[in-house]
């Protein structure tokens, strides 16, 4: 990779060993992925729950964080993805003391770097959405795909070590979705039925993700009959990134880089084309449906917006959950939900409101074993895709159907 004078100084250790490690790591990654140089970035977002880090990862962070303050500070605003617990509710989840200890150690290390502990995967709804053309180094795949596609920002998937590196150096290798040439479509998906519920948007994302197949594919959707809202884009993108490892999509006439279909199709290029209709979306959901009793309902992945919190509260009014009902949001939304009485309404119905964590990033296997949870209902296609590997049997249902499954009482007549 071609380096500037400052980058050579970083590499020579003139800014300390943390930044030196960071740029070496970035060069290794950039060389592998064909980057010609670095691009400055304005924000970094780090995924680093302790289930992923493990003891080894936390110790690695602590070694770096023990450097003198001047040698370990991030250079750009650097924020975090959800943590592995909500300390205020850890006992209700049966999280063990060793998990909380590991979390506290990781948090202390990140704070020593000057990282802002936002603990959210919906920073594009709550913190500082990037703007079109802004180069960033984001972690969580749902954050990346929303920022790239809906905001028109530019990021690759930056795993925890690379996002921290970007924070420490203020730059990232220029490859992938930092490049114009990578942002054109590679497949067309004609959608014959515009989803209504969030779980249907997630199912559509899952279907398109399977069609796309890998990180380097960029689907463009046609046929979407209205402008999807932020939560709909959130569920669609999160599922697309989860099932397909996809980091960028376009919707013709909707997303900023595809005001016309031709804007994202290189002249003269013929692309593979697929049709997806309502029957495909229904079949996708049915592939996860199951008979029998549900053990718990989870709203998470991504964390809920304030609007989703209000929807859950509204559906629970006058009802009572007979099984665990977890409603997980961000530390930015939670105080508003408290202030507006949404938390109280959800918890009055037996729900548990959690913040700053995400279900699958919070020792899901250990929670299943400790609580006897197996059959999980959710409206998140992303969670459905992930959680099977943790020993759960997931069902994908609408928010309303999930709440019906959680509540033993009959729905109140409206």
């Amino acid at each position: 990779m071609k380096l500037t004078d400052e980058e050579r100084a970083l590499r020579n250790g003139e800014f300390g060993p943390a930044a030196q490690w960071a740029i070496e790591h970035q060069i290794k990654v950039g060389d592998y992925l064909g980057a010609g140089d670095f691009v400055p970035v304005t924000q970094a977002h780090i995924m680093a729950d302790t289930e992923s880090l493990g003891v080894a990862g936390v110790e690695w962070l602590e070694r770096m964080a023990s450097l003198p303050a001047a040698e370990r500070r991030v250079r750009i605003p650097t924020i975090t993805d959800p943590r592995g617990t909500d300390f205020a509710a850890a006992d209700r989840l049966k999280h063990q003391p060793w998990m909380l200890d590991l979390e506290r150690r990781a948090i202390a290390a990140f704070e020593a770097f000057g990282v802002l502990m936002t603990n959210t995967c919906i920073n594009y709804q709550t913190i500082m959405p990037p703007v079109r053309g802004e180069h960033v180094a984001y972690g969580d795949t749902g954050v990346v795909i929303y920022s790239n596609s809906v905001c028109g920002a530019r990021s690759n998937f930056e795993g925890g070590p690379s996002a921290l590196s970007a924070g420490l150096t203020g730059r990232t290798p220029r490859y992938g979705y930092h490049l114009d040439a990578r942002r054109t479509a590679t497949l067309v998906v004609n959608v014959g039925w515009t989803p209504r519920e969030l779980n249907d948007w997630g199912a559509l994302g899952g279907i398109v993700g399977r069609l796309a197949g890998d990180y380097w594919q960029v689907p463009v959707l046609t046929g979407i009959e209205r402008v999807p809202g932020s939560d709909e884009m959130k569920h669609f993108g999160a599922a697309l990134a989860s099932y397909g490892s996809v980091a960028l999509f376009h919707i013709a006439g909707v997303t900023p880089e595809a005001q016309r279909l031709d804007d994202v199709i290189a002249p003269g290029r013929s692309l593979p084309t697929h049709d997806v209709g309502e029957a495909d979306i229904r079949a996708f959901a049915r592939s996860y449906a199951q008979a029998g009793k549900i053990d718990l309902v989870v709203f998470s992945a991504p964390q809920l917006s304030l609007v989703e919190m209000a929807q859950v509260a509204g559906l629970l009014d006058g009802r009572r959950a007979a099984i665990p009902l977890l409603v997980i949001t961000s530390p930015q939304v939670k105080p508003d939900a408290d202030r507006m009485g949404l938390t109280a309404r959800i918890e009055a119905a037996g729900g548990i409101v959690l913040s700053g964590m995400c279900f699958y990033q919070s020792y899901a296997r250990e929670m299943a074993e400790a609580n006897g949870w197996k059959r999980l209902a959710t409206n998140s296609a992303k969670l459905v895709n992930i959680i099977g590997g943790y020993g759960y049997q997931p069902a994908l249902m609408s928010m309303e159907a999930c709440i019906d499954a959680a509540c033993s009482d009959r729905r109140k007549a409206s």
């Binding site: 995924m47 969580d140 490859y175």
Partner: protein, 151 residues
């Protein structure tokens, strides 16, 4: 490289037993191949405590990956693998190497942190070229990155 380089087949395959990749990192290793036309994500697919593929839908569900050279199609899922390869390596419950048709950045970032052996990018579908169970050598250290059937 992140995209497969266009290359005539005879340039990428010098014999029926050696296959060249377009990129690699880590050390030269040997191990028995565990092969499937399926993806790889440490978070989605593995029970990392037991060292087995855990996602029921995965074609290797129930198989131990410890010490095996995993030959799979594409990197899948989220960014957790960037930490998890390091964590798995520290505990020694880890594959010997990853061989993929297509990587994503997360897999590269994880391999870089863990000093883990990984190669990717072939002129053919590597999951169809390597028989399951054969002894292979993965060498990212030479002038040309390769996987070779040893026995």
């Amino acid at each position: 490289m992140h995209r497969r380089r266009v290359q005539r087949p005879q340039e990428g395959i010098v014999s029926s037993k050696t296959f060249f990749a377009t990129a690699g990192m880590g050390r030269k290793v040997q191990g028995h191949a565990l092969v499937a036309k399926d993806g790889f994500s440490a978070r989605y697919d593995l029970d990392r405590a037991r060292g087995v593929f855990a996602r029921p839908e995965h074609k290797l569900a129930g198989e131990s990956y410890v010490g095996r050279v995993l030959v799979l199609d594409a990197a899948k899922g989220g960014v957790a693998t960037a930490w998890m390869l390091h964590e798995m390596t520290a505990r020694g419950i880890v594959p010997a190497a990853l061989v993929l048709n297509a990587v994503n950045p997360t897999m590269v970032q994880g391999a870089a942190l863990a000093d883990f052996t990984m190669i990717s990018g072939f002129d053919l579908d590597i999951t169809q070229a390597i028989p399951n169970g054969v002894m292979v050598e993965v060498d990212p250290t030479g002038a040309r990155v390769l996987i070779r059937i040893v026995d």
